[in-house]
């Protein structure tokens, strides 16, 4: 069976819909990973050990095992304890938590890199611990962490393909549906790869602009 790309255009709508869901998952999981990363980092650095220990165990677990296994655990495993999540939500939570762990490591490093004098100065001016973190330390740390976190976002976009395995109708699963009707895996997976590549280029361009704006605002 040779290649015949003429079948691809008739499934253009399906692929476009899948691409839309891929973008939606990436954005939702991206936001979750950003917020989660900050929360984990603050807990790891500043909280009481009763809170710190479980978070450290969680980070260790998520860094030492494959994302695919984590998605299986969240989607199929939580049913065992009575939590039945829809696939999309399970995918967003799985991807979001997975990358929150990586973001947290980056944020911790950059929080520690913020000059200690900033913290002391804010406390001397009468800000509370929480205020100092929220208004002085974290904003500076977040600035420094945007470029490496951008790399995590790009990884997240590509890893969003994994949620097709738990049945989320994104780009990869859309391609699979087209394949199940046409028996043309090469053409449709290539088309899907092309879509990912385009989304990736757009994301990279957006991140570069963001970095430039941050550099300019300093």
């Amino acid at each position: 069976m040779g290649l015949d790309f003429s079948v691809v255009p008739s499934y253009f709508g399906l692929l476009l819909m899948g691409a839309g869901w891929t973008v939606a998952i990436t954005i939702c999981a991206g936001i979750l990973s950003f917020v989660g990363g900050i929360v984990f980092a603050v807990i790891a650095l500043y909280s009481h050990w009763t809170l710190r220990l479980p978070v450290r165990a969680f980070v260790w677990l998520f860094m030492g095992t494959p994302l695919l296994l984590q998605l299986f655990l969240i989607y199929f495993g939580l049913i065992q304890v009575g939590i039945d999540l829809p696939a999309f939500l399970a995918g967003v939570i799985g991807l979001g938590l997975h990358f929150a762990v990586y973001n947290s490591e980056l944020i911790q490093v950059s929080i520690l890199a913020v000059d200690k004098g900033q913290y002391e100065g804010a406390r001397t001016l009468g800000l509370s611990r929480g205020q100092t973190l929220r208004r002085v330390v974290i904003p500076q740390a977040v600035h420094a962490v945007i470029p490496p976190m951008g790399n995590n976002m790009i990884a997240l976009l590509k890893d969003s393909a994994l949620v097709s395995v738990i049945g989320v109708m994104e780009l990869t699963l859309a391609a699979q549906q087209a394949i199940s009707r046409t028996y043309r895996p090469f053409e449709f997976y290539l088309a899907a790869a092309f879509c990912y590549y385009i989304i990736n280029l757009a994301l990279e361009a957006g991140l570069r602009r963001l970095e430039r704006r941050i550099a300019a605002s300093r």
Partner: protein, 215 residues
Amino acid sequence: MDIDLILRVYPFFLEAALVTIELSILTALLGLTCGAFGAAARLSRLAVLRWIAAAYVSVFRGTPALIQIFILYFGGPQIGIQLDSFAAGTIALGVNIGAYMTETIRGAIVSVDKGQTEAARTLGMSRSETMRKIILPQAARMMIRPLGVNINALIKGTALVAPISVIELTYTAQRFIGSTYKPFEMFFLSGLLYMVIIYVVGQGINWLDRRAQIV
């Protein structure tokens, strides 16, 4: 936690762990080979080679590894490449990680101080001699740690061959979840074995890195 069940199924997981290890080793070797050639091409004087290597890195880093595996395994037969799932998974993952390693190796070579090259050239060494005797030994030391990061990602990445039914750790967990309906126990077994593998490899890399820093 159903301990009886764990004791009954764990031999299957040990067998699967061997497949994961085998996959990791082969993928790492292929990835390092692609990375070495890729880096050489990226730094070559020939524009065509530089261009090809840049395209390789951009395409393989810009698309999901899962799709690359699917293209080779499911799409391969259409263009006359018929591979079993293990071979297809290894090749796709190896070439994929090779793109990341290309950048890692290139980065290490570029970060060697330019004065080293200039001094060696001034002393009358040829370009290739300078590379072999001066630059590469220094770059090799610097790239151990970042390559270790790549290898860590690679070990976890081997889970991606589960969807094409290679009987490794993730696929085995998935299969036993389907038949026993005990996902936490199966996750525990697979997860634990991944962590053991990653820990051991991590220790090995630390050891290599320490030795390289002393020399």
